[in-house]
Symmetry: C2
Subunit: 297 residues, 2 copies
């Protein structure tokens, strides 16, 4: 944590200097939303769409954002620029801040605290496994229902994801997939999931974060004339898939080569997964859907 830059709302500081109150409702009430994108060769990926989704999360949680869209764009670019990182993991975050009087409705408006930072690019399973394939565990922990916390709003109520990850580690897997209260597959800790079967692709349709990399997969599928279907998927359909992959800002398109330590297909990165992954990185290298930081500062 020695690289990167944090904007605290007042100033740009080093990560180890970035702190906030232990009374912030973001911690104490899980009252916080965030969003993540990345820069690649100083091109920030789909910045407007990430910031628009972030603002939806802000409003969904009834928080108040002290910054508008254009200001956030500039702050993100400024963090990347000051960090000196060509390839960065970029997070925007809003917590409710301090609630001065818990029993006053007005106080519950809070004193919302906006934070943005740029850190070295994150490969969610490490670079090698994120590129070549991971071993996922289908968790017994249920994903928090959207009836309780609307999963369209990217938020920090993620204890279910943490416990599912521990369960995966217990079973010698790299990470996890969770089902929702209706028994259908949802997502993993920070990624959407896709099945390839008979040349078509299927992905869960509900109780998920509607990932922007997931949206990007749809675009890539259109380019490659592959059919992508949003649908209900039972977890037992996973083992019968020809290929499985995941999508996330923190690694792009991630092959899944084993499920519960049993090989998927031939146990190697699938052909369609490879095609989409190659296309994704070829286009990212050229600044696809990118906003160059020099155009913002």
């Amino acid at each position: 944590m020695d690289e990167g830059i944090v904007f605290t709302g007042d100033e740009f500081v080093r990560p180890e200097e970035a702190s906030f109150s232990i009374f912030d409702a973001g911690l104490v009430w899980g009252d916080a939303v965030y969003d993540v994108t990345s820069s690649w060769n100083n091109w920030i990926f789909r910045l407007d769409e990430h910031l628009e989704r972030f603002q939806c999360s802000v409003e969904g949680f009834r928080l108040n954002n002290p910054y508008n869209h254009d200001e956030m764009r500039r702050i993100c670019a400024e963090c990347v620029s000051r960090s000196g990182l060509q390839n960065a993991y970029i997070k925007v975050q809003l917590t409710r801040g301090l609630i001065k009087n818990q029993t006053s409705q007005l106080s519950w408006q809070g004193d919302c605290k906006f934070i943005t930072y740029a850190m070295p690019y994150v490969w969610i399973w490490g670079e090698k496994k994120s590129k070549d394939g991971g071993n996922l565990f289908v968790s017994n922990v249920e994903r928090i229902s959207s009836n309780a916390v609307d999963q369209r709003f990217k938020n920090y109520n993620r204890a279910d994801l943490v416990q599912s990850r521990f369960e995966a580690y217990d079973n010698n897997c790299d990470d996890s997939l969770l089902c929702g209260p209706d028994g259908y597959l949802t997502e993993g800790p920070g990624y959407n999931v896709f099945l390839v079967k008979g040349g078509n692709i299927y992905t869960p349709s509900s109780n998920i974060l509607e990932g922007i990399t997931r949206l990007t997969v749809r675009e890539l599928c259109d380019m490659e004339h592959i059919d992508l279907n949003e649908t209900n998927i039972y977890p037992n359909e996973l083992q019968e898939a020809d290929e499985i992959f995941c999508s996330t800002s923190a690694g792009g398109i991630l092959p899944v080569t084993q499920l519960n330590s049993i090989p998927i297909g031939n146990g190697h990165k699938g052909l369609i997964t490879s095609r989409l992954q190659k296309l994704y990185w070829k286009k990212r290298d050229k600044g696809w859907h990118g906003t160059h930081i020099d155009d913002l500062i």
Copy 2:
């Protein structure tokens, strides 16, 4: 927030000085547990039981507590003593701390951060309403299922509670009650709930924090020869109750005199509620189930 004392693990500081890293997994992953008790006339209420439950939450979340039971007892007493508050709200909290390398299983052990503080005693709905009666709203927001985040472990994944409270405010109510995924009544933001009907008392049995004040209500009922039943309760049974009350560390026994702005019974604090509330405070005044801070420091 000008009164009180915080123990940060290293030192005792004033509340406004107590900060932690924005990268703490307690925030970023909702990976944090806590517990709350109170001191009254310098007697800490059921300290051992609260700390034992806290340790269950710690283990349930697979966190590592740097302090043992006796050390935590002394830290709590020291916070109360240093705060100079005769009546204090006392919280213990453990967050996972920093995860140095997200892709390393070992890193996920974290660098857990223990915090304790004593603040002025909290009346959850303000002193008057907490004593005389509140107006609760039965929320459309679902309580997070114990299948996702085990509600026996007191934790900060509470965005559902926040949104239900906003919904209550929208409807001119003071606070909320939530149902679980099975449609049964669970609890409110920080309290258990009880119905009185035909001289007997009923309280939800599942998807709840098993409150220590709730346990105390059972003891008071035994003393008063009132039958207390843990059972499944549908929300529509609330309106037919003779009385409703809640239990919490932050106010003791709280009468509920209106539900969705409709009076319960005659719209005043009920007779059984009054009896239990009086008995609770009479006993608290005398140091019931208490550990005196002078015996610990």
